[in-house]
């Protein structure tokens, strides 16, 4: 192993629903060693759990299998390795679907697939609660026993260790459930460079690399505020690639000829995204200090990241519990000039009186005027009195379904029974949505890690 060897890790997906072409372009647009894809958000786990309860063969990101089919030749012939948490709440079913796809494409004997299990706590939840684990809500302080009957999914956040184990077993494709976004990138770095699991500065460096990759193009020109008009050809945006060396320093770049931009501004905006205390970016693998990061523009679309320090991992793992809370619905109507805002406000008053007269009880009724105050509230200042149009947007939330259901039938009647110059109701009645809320908790890692296993399929 040469000391100055570079490992290239490419981001292929920033969330489930991101650009479908991105992972294929990352693999085919130049040399990379690893493709990492993040599919999971808190809310995603409960959606997948619901799909699995209807069909035991479901519960993972099916887009992932379709994508893998497109890049199988690159995996088999060029040795590109893929790491993803697309397994959701059913990594086994996901891995088996990928196995079938590889066999059908005639490359089955050259593709080794690993799956990671042990993050799903739903089958063990009652035993853990009975054993005295309270799963205290980190925001509210309530014990999970208060909401046990409503729990839809419960997953511990695993770090890079099972990813490393899978790569060491020779996997070309690693499919996990709730492994942290950053663990997907840190895993291959630890594997390639043989970093010690308690080399906290390098663990922190790989974690920062993972944070820069985890939201896809958000670090390579997408959603970039600084000089946004100067960001060229976003229709061909290149997703970010990290070129790392064994010392922990790395360069963020993208494939030549792609759109977007990698500069200090684009990387900095991603670094501060969803950040709390920058000196303590806590992951299952260690704690990174974002105030140690040094950024240098070293070339066109090249930013060098160095100097990163970190500290030891904690003895807890974060757990994300998804629990059924209630129902909500959001309705909207558009009012046109003249006096558009006044008309929208009058309609809101009428609707609220009708809801009250019906005796419907809501936890909250929220009215926003899109074009006036929906994004910045009162900070937007006094609206133009001559607005061309205003969208009235009303949301309601309740623990029971019935009042929300009835609300959805009170929007359309405003068209013929309310203020004039109204349109934009062609979409029909608003949908009643189930609210699955998120319950953050901590658990001792000793209760989880012995149950984490890697299997080859």
């Amino acid at each position: 192993m040469k000391a100055d060897r570079t490992v290239r890790i490419a981001s292929g997906q920033g969330f489930w629903g991101d650009w479908l072409e991105a992972p294929v372009r990352q693999v085919q647009g130049g040399e990379i060693d690893y493709l990492v894809l993040d599919y999971l958000a808190e809310v995603t786990m409960s959606i997948l759990q619901k799909q699995r309860s209807r069909d035991p063969a479901m519960g993972y990101a099916r887009d992932f299998v379709t994508m893998i089919e497109r890049i199988l030749p690159d995996i088999a012939d060029r040795g590109v390795r893929v790491i993803s948490n697309a397994g959701g709440v059913n990594p086994r079913a996901c891995a088996e679907a990928v196995r079938r796809a590889a066999d059908a494409a005639g490359v089955g004997d050259r593709v080794r697939i690993a799956l990671v299990v042990g993050d799903d706590l739903l089958p063990r939840l009652d035993e853990l609660l009975a054993g005295g684990e309270p799963f205290t809500n980190m925001d509210t302080g309530r014990p999970l026993s208060d909401a046990r009957e409503h729990v839809r999914a419960a997953n511990a956040y695993l770090g890079m260790r099972p990813v490393v184990e899978a790569l060491e077993a020779g996997a070309n494709i690693v499919i996990t459930g709730r492994v942290t976004d950053t663990g997907l990138t840190l895993g291959p770095l630890v594997h390639e460079f043989g970093w010690s699991h308690d080399d906290w500065d390098r663990i922190a460096a790989g974690t920062v690399a993972g944070h820069i990759l985890e939201c896809g193009a958000q670090s390579s020109g997408g959603n970039l505020l600084r000089d946004w008009r100067k960001v060229k050809r976003l229709e061909d945006v290149g997703f970010p690639i990290v070129e790392a060396t064994a010392d922990g320093a790395f360069t963020v770049t993208k494939h030549p000829g792609t759109g977007g931009v990698v500069n200090v501004a684009s990387v900095t905006e991603q670094l501060v995204y969803e950040m709390g205390d920058p000196t303590m970016y806590i992951t299952p693998d260690g704690v990174a200090d974002f105030t140690s990061i040094r950024l240098d523009q070293t070339g066109r679309d090249r930013v060098r990241v160095s100097g990163i320090t970190g500290g030891p991992r904690t003895d807890k793992l974060k757990v994300s519990v998804a629990w059924f809370y209630g129902y909500k619905a959001i309705g909207s109507l558009v009012y046109a000039w003249p006096e558009a805002l006044d008309k929208a406000k009058a309609a809101d008053k009428i609707l609220r009186k009708r809801l009250k007269a019906l005796g419907l009880e809501f936890e909250q009724v929220l009215t926003e005027y899109v074009g006036v105050n929906a994004t910045h509230g009162r900070l937007a200042g006094d609206p133009d009195p001559d607005l061309a149009e205003v969208m009235l947007r009303i949301g309601v939330r309740a623990r029971e379904r019935a009042p929300v259901e009835r609300f959805t039938r009170e929007i359309a009647p405003l068209v013929l029974t309310g203020p004039p110059s109204v349109t934009g109701f062609a979409g029909g009645r608003p949908q009643v949505e189930e609210i699955v809320a998120y319950w953050p908790a901590l658990v001792d890692r000793t209760l989880i890690e012995p149950f984490v296993t890697v299997e080859m399929v």
């Binding site: 905006e269 000196t279 994004t375």
Partner: protein
């Protein structure tokens, strides 16, 4: 020293996201020379006043290495995540809402900021 008021949009760029019922806003100086004035003027207390009625508490962290400040805006998301009925339930545009804030800066610095933007 002659001063003038200037909106943060001329001095910084920003990105925001959610953490439960809190939004975070990373405020990044557009020029290294602007960081000190941001650090001095954009205090947690003044940001709390800017967002009065919209957030319950504000914490500030400094990242001099990135010439950035990070603000945690607690209670900003009306319950947060899936509970929130807001258009901006994930706090994605609290970033530019902060850029509306006005601070007192030396006239010379204000001139430079406007030049940089043009």
């Amino acid at each position: 020293m002659a001063t003038t008021t200037l909106q943060l949009r001329w001095l910084a760029h920003a990105r925001s996201g959610d953490k439960g019922d809190a939004a975070n806003v990373g405020l990044i100086a557009l020029d290294p020379d602007f960081y000190d004035v941001l650090r001095r003027e954009v205090t947690a207390r003044r940001v709390a006043r800017h967002f009065k009625g919209m957030v319950t508490a504000v914490e500030r962290y400094e990242l001099p290495n990135l010439r950035a400040l990070n603000f945690m805006l607690h209670g900003a998301l009306d319950g947060g995540g899936t509970l929130s009925l807001k258009t901006d339930a994930q706090g994605k545009v609290y970033s530019t809402a902060l850029l509306r804030m006005e601070i007192e800066v030396p006239r010379k610095l204000a001139r430079r900021a406007k030049e940089l933007a043009s």
